[in-house]
Symmetry: D2
Subunit: 490 residues, 4 copies
């Protein structure tokens, strides 16, 4: 949800959130005030999860930890950070992809294993977690949460030998999208899934080391970016430095495209690309593919502002602020009743009448999921006097569910899975509607033909239905029905 001068706010677009979601992880080894550094790093990653936050530190081989529901600033008080002593830490902000939003599911999770203490933070979704859990429970393991992260801990607990070996072994058993950070009494371990679906980077802070889901966390604490962690790579960081190992063979990368389109902060660089720059390029390419006769270009805040600026720059139509978003809605905000909504109470967005009145408006948005939000915004602009509303989407139509970060996997909820673009235009009430082509998107991303790009690729399964990993039967029936038509399934 990058923005013009903005990171995603407390008010997330729930429509998109429910369709595709991630968390934020951070780890540090070998720095004084590790808990404070982690606090500020999590604050920089807050847009990746506002439901819970947690930090675990290690001091003389013992773990301290604290976690709670809410924003980073709500969960931690000065006395908590004070208590979290030590020179190494792992932190997590969470949006629940799986598991209910309750404290037991907050991360990092902390375990006492026969190998020693272990704190564990995870960004991702394991597609075979249900299967593994059932098997472990039959063997007598007791789970304390509904979080798929815990499966990994139980796999480790049942392995003999040392912690690093047990972690490496266990990662070969789980499948899906993930970035893990493990903290033990002796070392920090960071691992990225074999396809590289989820991002994670390594940085240097003084004599110590840091890892994070996004580089904006490095900037916030004054750390220097070193490199992205490779797909299937496991880093073991201790006082001796960083050791790299592979737990999966080198494969084509398949980073989730939506990190660029919608999710990451505009000031972050992921796998070599800056998010804002990519978004602006998507907007420019969209202008070439789908120009419009119009007076002003506006973006839907926050994540579509960069694309709107790109669209305006490529077309020469002035860029304007036509929609204002209120960021103050927090967890405890009271939603208006149906009666009040019908009488006109509208909280999140407000159209700037003086900007759109009597104008032909290009409204740039990053994606359409269910389509209800788009219809509402078009209506808002018309009520504020817009003469025409031309909707331009800076990504292709989303026609397939995501199995790597899902709340709802029902394909029928995706507007583009049910309707043609013409029907969608009709449904949202726009004067025209156009999506960026998949080719255009890849070109803007610089992916081009694979050879030209050093093997770099993306997971675009939600656009075309070809998934980069095996999918498991236990994802539920409504998934299974969808699966039949997927070409990419092994």
């Amino acid at each position: 949800m990058g923005a013009v001068g903005e990171q995603p706010g407390v008010v997330v677009d729930l429509e998109k959130r429910h369709w595709h979601e991630e968390c934020g992880v951070f780890g540090v080894w070998g720095c004084e005030n590790a808990s404070q550094l982690t606090y500020y790093a999590l604050y920089a990653l807050q847009h990746r999860g506002q439901e819970s936050a947690g930090i675990a530190t290690v001091e003389d081989g013992r773990l301290h930890h604290h976690r709670g529901l809410g924003l980073v600033a709500e969960v931690f008080g000065p006395e908590d950070l004070e208590r979290l002593r030590g020179r190494a830490a792992v932190g997590h902000v969470r949006y629940s992809t799986t598991g209910a939003n309750k404290l037991a599911n907050a991360q990092p999770m902390v375990f006492d294993l026969h190998q020693g203490h272990l704190a564990l933070a995870h960004n991702g979704n394991l597609v075979n977690a249900g299967l593994l859990r059932r098997r472990l429970e039959e063997q007598g393991s007791i789970f304390q949460s509904t979080n798929d992260t815990e499966v990994v801990a139980h796999l480790i607990a049942r392995r003999p030998g040392g912690m690093v070996e047990a972690v490496t072994d266990s990662l070969q058993t789980v499948q899906g999208a993930y970035a893990f950070v493990f903290l033990t009494g002796d070392c920090l371990i960071a691992a990225r899934d074999p396809q590289g679906l989820r991002p994670m980077a390594l940085g240097r802070l003084g004599e110590g080391w840091v890892v994070a889901s996004e580089t904006c966390a490095f900037d916030t604490i004054g750390a220097v970016f070193v490199r992205d962690i490779e797909p299937g790579e496991l880093l073991v960081i201790d006082d001796g430095g960083v050791r790299s190992a592979r737990f999966a063979p080198r494969a084509k990368k398949a980073l989730c495209t939506f990190e660029y389109i919608y999710f990451a902060r505009p000031d972050s660089d992921i796998d070599g690309r800056n998010v804002h720059v990519v978004r602006k390029a998507l907007g420019k390419r969209l202008a070439l593919e789908a120009p419009a006769e119009a007076d002003v270009v506006i973006g839907v805040p926050d994540s579509s502002i960069s694309a709107a600026i790109g669209y305006a720059e490529a077309t020469g139509i002035p860029y304007e602020i036509g929609l204002i978003k209120n960021k103050y809605i927090g967890r405890t905000f009271i939603q208006p009743s149906q009666a009040l909504r019908e009488r006109g109470v509208q909280l999140k967005l407000n159209a700037v009448r003086k900007v759109v009145e009597g104008k032909r408006v290009v409204m740039v948005d990053d994606s359409i999921v269910r389509g209800t939000t788009s219809r509402r915004i078009v209506q808002l602009l018309r009520e504020a006097g817009a003469r025409e509303v031309h909707v331009r989407i800076s990504s292709p139509p989303v026609r397939f569910p995501c199995y790597y970060g899902i709340d709802t996997s029902a394909r029928e909820e995706l507007m583009a899975a049910r309707l043609t673009v013409a029907e969608m235009r009709e449904a949202i009430g726009a004067d025209s509607l156009a999506f960026l082509s998949e080719e255009g998107m890849l070109e803007a991303l610089g992916a081009g033909p694979e050879a030209a790009f050093g093997g770099h690729e993306f997971c675009n399964a939600c656009f075309h239905g070809r998934y980069p990993t095996r999918l498991y039967e236990d994802l539920g029936k409504n998934v299974m029905e969808t699966v039949g038509e997927r070409g990419g399934r092994p």
Copy 2:
């Protein structure tokens, strides 16, 4: 703090806040769910005060009220709104200009007078409050807060006769900048100060009426703007409709210019002008007065984005997102220690390296108060690789304190009161620095020669030191020292 697609965030620019500050008031008469409507209206006005919030309603002549420290969403739960029954309400969000930030100072304040129950919400600062309070205390009045609002209640309490007459009389005694909303068992009373320093507008909602500091509150609840309240005008709203009266003679308007420059939401219209449109005009005019040889134009989020877009449009230099602001800092956020700050922890703003690296950057900001923030941002941009940084300010230099919404009135804290523009440029480390001229500002505001503009004027005392009201001795010694040089003092 208007913004590109943004209203001011929880993270306010404390440097500016401490220099000049306002509150938000709202009132409604004759509508079902008055407390809910007020809740959503206050939420729209949240940028005007994040320290406390409160609502009072009237039901069968009895007042219910609830207030607390924090954001609207923190202060009210569903059961609070439920308990606040009635078809009329008054609400307030507060930033403390005078009086400590404690619950006793939160508004609306509620009083039992011999005339009946009274709830009172106030946006502004009374310059003779101290004088009046001392006199009232000597006569036996007991104050329960350090809030200057309470002075008005005591004045009313000591008047014989009915409530409306007592209110009218009392307003003739107080001086300063204010927008008052009074709620009694029988009516809602709204009053704007004789100079119109503070804004307030009237709206219609179904069969009922609303008043608010900014029109964005009307949009949020589906109300329709009717007109701005006149300086020195008092509206009495009851089931019979709206009656207008004057408690002060018709005078030249002197609306605070900073409502446009920095404070109001970009989607609000004040006294006939849209805030975003004004800001963009200020940016365009600034481009004419102070162009720059540069590669990109960036704005300091949130309030300077509109001006930056205007500057870019007028110069043809591309507008970019070069600074990202983190909005999640709340009341309870733990500030980094000096040691951590020195080691590079920087929370509020992050520069986008890929945007500014190797570039000549125009950085547009709305104002400079102490100058410390400006210096920090310039440094941030240089560290991110900017080749040149040209600072452009979309208002004139602030050289005089404000007595109508002050926390600190010490003139020596104002950078422009101490230094020349050349010295300021040196101090903030910019390659060049320019301010908008006062004439340019007035022209962009459309003020022009008075005749051409129907008598419309502004309070620009902070730029030139000529104050629109009498100032009182009890403002404190450091004020008095400043007063000597003021020309406008009666």
Copy 3:
């Protein structure tokens, strides 16, 4: 509410509470850690009020204060006591006699007057408070609470001259039962009402001085009892020592008898008598007046245990523990539904079956107000197998309302005002019922003929209807109806 080894618990007998109630006050001057000392003193006085607690201290002429709803231990944290710096303090625990149980009514109340800062704690009830408040409001005073204590502050505020003079003057205007402690920047002022209806004592603590509603507070903090404060006496305590003055002529004492019968802690001494010793004497006297053929004597915990021991000692019948009281019910305890109560859920008291089964039981209680509690306990004992239940009350029948500490003044709620003793026995289901005679009570109290006792007397108005002060019309209509039959009204 004295007890065998027990002070009154969190679980107060609400039947008695609602009929007659008091608060606890404490003051200290000239001692280090004044807030801590007050905290422990209030803890010793906790039985006098569990609804709210508060402390104000003075440091360099400035007041600090903190108050809240709940028990002393709930209201204050270590950081609160830390913040309450100074060598003088005043504290209060409250049971609401008048004014709703809300924070605004918690004490000490703190005021800024033209004479200076003032903190005020009050145990009692002013019978002309309503009249005075109406008059003050008509003159423009604004009240912030519904507490009659605030009337005194407004009277003081309207007096010219210094604080001590204004306090002395104001006390001549109010009427009723009271013990006041005032804390100013310069001194501590303690005053007891002209009839001495409410107790207050003076103690010495190192170089400093303390005042308290009961002497158990002195024992708890290691202070030494000096003397009781006289009716109509005002003590001004500052660094120069204690000065005594009279604001009312010397009159016959009229201490409320219920301090001994029910309210005070058994280890406190009031006006020269120990509470436990008096209660035991009442029980012995009751044994002489109303013996019973029985196997065991039991007391209703907590306040009737001393009287039961006395009754057992005088009759030779063994004293036993036949009723157990659960003390853990706090403010937030969830009361059982009617359905659960009917199915046998009984929380407060439990009969010890092995003690009462097959026995003739004497059940000693201190008083009967509405009679519902007595009926319930008799039934409880019968269900546990008691063969006979003989109820003995260690005070005379309560037939008249109390105007000095009332929640309900309706005479018809008093069982003894409606029924004869025979009818009462029938109503509560006892085999026999007897009350202590008024003469017996006075004799046990050592009051005897006035001359023989140095003029010492008691307020027994609730037994005979002759009140020691004027009563005012504004006590409400149902009071007025009762008033007609009172002989003692001037």
Copy 4:
């Protein structure tokens, strides 16, 4: 801690608590409002644990649960009980014998096993818990608490087959003192340890069944006592009724004597004896063994009041209330600093001067552990003017640690393990000191020669060092040193 009309207060005697401690458990099957009934039952058992409370219910095979730190009334709100739907429940109040006082250790603990959902509440201490835990961890089990209760859940989880069989099997593996209540989707299971060290009783409530640590819980909710659960007995309660099974051979009972001496509520009956009646008998027997020349008999509240009454009755010396205990200290109470304590601040007990001044006092207490409390009370009585203080203890000297409910197992902390009675008298400053003999205690308990009593016996290991179960090496080193001298060890 039985008392004259009193159950143990919030203020527990920490000296005794730390030496020997228990919890309270309750279960109900087949009753409407099961959560409410459990709430009130736990309230009756509150004296058995004030650190945490919890309830789990079952509805349609699914568990709901809620637990927290603090008193029952603090942990549960009406909405919690509302949410805890179902006709079966298990509840727990806890004093930490093992495991830190943190939420993770609060009970009932809830687990998802392959056999189904399981809630588990435990009163007791497993002597081989550490050993079993280490073995389970090595096999890959992950513990979420430091509570020994969790060991049982892991044992069950690793057993194949149904829940009841797995529970029965698992109980044959654990050793120590325990009363377990298990709640599953199908039934309630209650089990008492093979020695019957911990009490548990069965009751009937309408059509449903209840089990509880003490019968006072039955009285509170209107249930009828059926019988005590046998040592080594397991009850399975479901809609078909109650089935009894044995998981251990019939053995001699060894109920902990301290249940009678100190811990249980006076109105409870345990294994056929009423607690108050036993305590009074102990006092009478003590009077025969160790009479005193004295003027008054007083008891140390709360648990020694019954014994004091018995002592007084047997000697003819009047029983008096000589010590008052303040019950209001809660979890958050601020302890006085050392400086304040030295200056005389004493919170828990106050002597009644008028009762003890100039008198020869017999002070009856139930036991002496470290002796510090006894010394303090003797001093208190002397400062209040007691001429002589004769201490009489209603149990034998405690000379050996308890392994079934320990916080501290260091034998050197036990005063009677280090000193003779004469030295103890000297140490506590009494004029005389006497303990009840072991024979006298058994006689008062009605134990007599085993044949005469149907095989009923007690665990008196703390008096003589002969323990009824095997003790394990992993109890820690300081235990091991003590073990050498124990005769009873296998």
